[in-house]
């Protein structure tokens, strides 16, 4: 089926792009790789008059690894999974991007698009939550940088305001002792969205206790979420079997899953407990 007609512009500066979005109002949309937006256009879920492509704006696809890792919005999942800077600085992000869809989808889909879309079962989002990432957005009032924890507001809703564009993701350096893991569970085929995904980062101390724990979850709430309750149970403690079980149970109790064709809300909650526990056991065994 063909797409509904729209106008397409590729501005050469961010300012110009913001201006087009501001003038276009609700009828203008940013397009990144198109893997989400074009599906919605074909289903007539959106009828924009104008699509704004960002491909001609210099630097929007860069990945830079000095100090903070900075991944610009148009970097594709495939580029990120293969980037030496990402693999050195934030292997958790590379691993999560490697689990997005299929290689062909990863060649198209961009990190900025993934986050701005606000998909609850995003793979990179829980990893970036666990990494303590921040995002930069540019809009009519200029640029602002905000923590990713808080960026996701509700079902497909983000903190992006009118005519704002997500331009970059920043990942702070991890302590040398930090450990991380990413697991994605789906009961359909490999390239499907996660039924539940778990990204976790911990820093084990010399005395065996864990600190700086961050756990990101995908697919088990209207948005990607942090498991703050589970993190608090683990903080400053040794990762005994009992602690890990208690933290996993807390994570499952705190989520607010929606049921769909992959699994009921109840099943997603049960799987949250299982996969959080397994992720934590993996971190303990490293």
């Amino acid at each position: 089926m063909t797409l509904p007609a729209f106008e397409y512009r590729e501005p050469e500066t961010l300012e110009e792009a913001v201006g087009l979005l501001r003038d276009g109002g609700d009828e203008a949309r940013v397009i990144g790789g198109g893997t989400a937006l074009v599906v919605m256009l074909r289903a007539r879920l959106l009828r924009p008059r104008l699509l704004v492509g960002l491909g001609r704006i210099p630097g929007l696809g860069d990945v830079r690894g000095n100090g903070d890792l900075r991944v610009a919005a148009l970097a594709t999942h495939r580029e990120i999974e293969r980037s030496p800077e990402v693999r050195r600085h934030a292997p958790l992000l590379a691993e999560a991007c490697r689990r997005v869809g299929s290689p062909t989808i990863r060649n198209m889909g961009t990190l900025g698009g993934n986050l701005a879309y606000g998909e609850a079962a995003s793979d990179p989002a829980p990893a970036l939550l666990a990494l303590g990432a921040r995002v930069t957005v540019v809009g009519p009032a200029g640029a602002r940088t905000l923590p990713l924890d808080g960026f996701f507001r509700d079902f497909y809703e983000t903190a992006l305001g009118p005519a704002e564009i997500l331009t970059a993701v920043h990942v702070p350096p991890a302590p040398a002792a930090a450990r991380s893991t990413f697991v994605k569970y789906t009961c359909l085929s490999e390239e499907e969205r996660a039924l539940v995904s778990v990204a976790a980062v911990v820093v084990p101390g010399p005395d065996g206790t864990w600190s700086e724990i961050r756990i990101g979850l995908g697919g088990v709430a209207p948005t990607p979420v942090r498991a703050h309750g589970a993190e608090a149970i683990l903080g400053g403690e040794r990762p005994t079997d009992g602690r890990l079980r208690e933290a996993a149970a807390r994570a499952a109790a705190d989520v607010s899953p929606l049921g769909d064709r992959q699994g009921s809300a109840e099943y997603r909650r049960a799987m949250t407990e299982v996969w959080v526990r397994r992720a934590l056991e993996t971190l303990r065994a490293e």
Binding site: T2, F6, G34, N107, E191
Partner: protein
């Protein structure tokens, strides 16, 4: 119909090593450009949602979903379809391997499989079976059970350490 003009864009794009200069409606997909405008029927219209892989084409050597890829984004880029795999009247070695291994049944998924497989071999001349399965994970085949397709890609690669034919 009203007389509303559809916004369109002048585009130059290389398809199978031929330069095309054309006027393309902004809402056309690469799939429409290939099949409707250029008459290249090898790129298949399957699910229209980026799931099945039947519309796989290469853009600058990388596999994409032509059903999700806006045609205007192919500006000044090099697109390869299954029609472009053959060179000088000879099948690409991967096409020949599909024939030899019996990796084709109804054929609908075959162009997408060939392009995803060719892109893999271009980057990884001697892939493992796992590499092949990962490269083809987004290409659905409802006939073959995949075993012969995977075998064909491995056969086209030849054993590690041996130069590609």
């Amino acid at each position: 119909m009203t007389g509303t003009a559809l916004p369109s864009t002048a585009l130059s794009v290389w398809v199978n090593d031929r330069l095309h200069e054309m006027e393309v409606p902004a809402h056309w997909t690469l799939l429409q450009l290939l099949t409707d405008a250029l008459g290249l029927g090898g790129t298949k219209d399957g699910c229209g949602q980026g799931v099945c892989g039947a519309c796989t084409a290469l853009v600058d050597g990388q596999p994409v979903r032509a059903c999700l890829f806006l045609a205007v984004r192919a500006r000044d880029r090099r697109v390869t379809t299954v029609e472009g795999l053959r060179a000088n009247g000879t099948l690409h070695r991967l096409q020949q391997a599909f024939v030899d291994e019996g990796a084709v049944q109804c054929g609908f998924c075959t162009p997408g499989m060939l392009l995803a497989g060719a892109a893999l071999l271009a980057e990884t001349p001697h892939p493992t079976e796992e590499d092949v399965r990962e490269a083809l994970v987004g290409n659905l085949c409802r006939c073959t059970g995949y075993a012969r397709i995977v075998r064909a890609v491995l056969a086209a690669a030849g054993p590690a350490g041996v130069g590609a034919p």
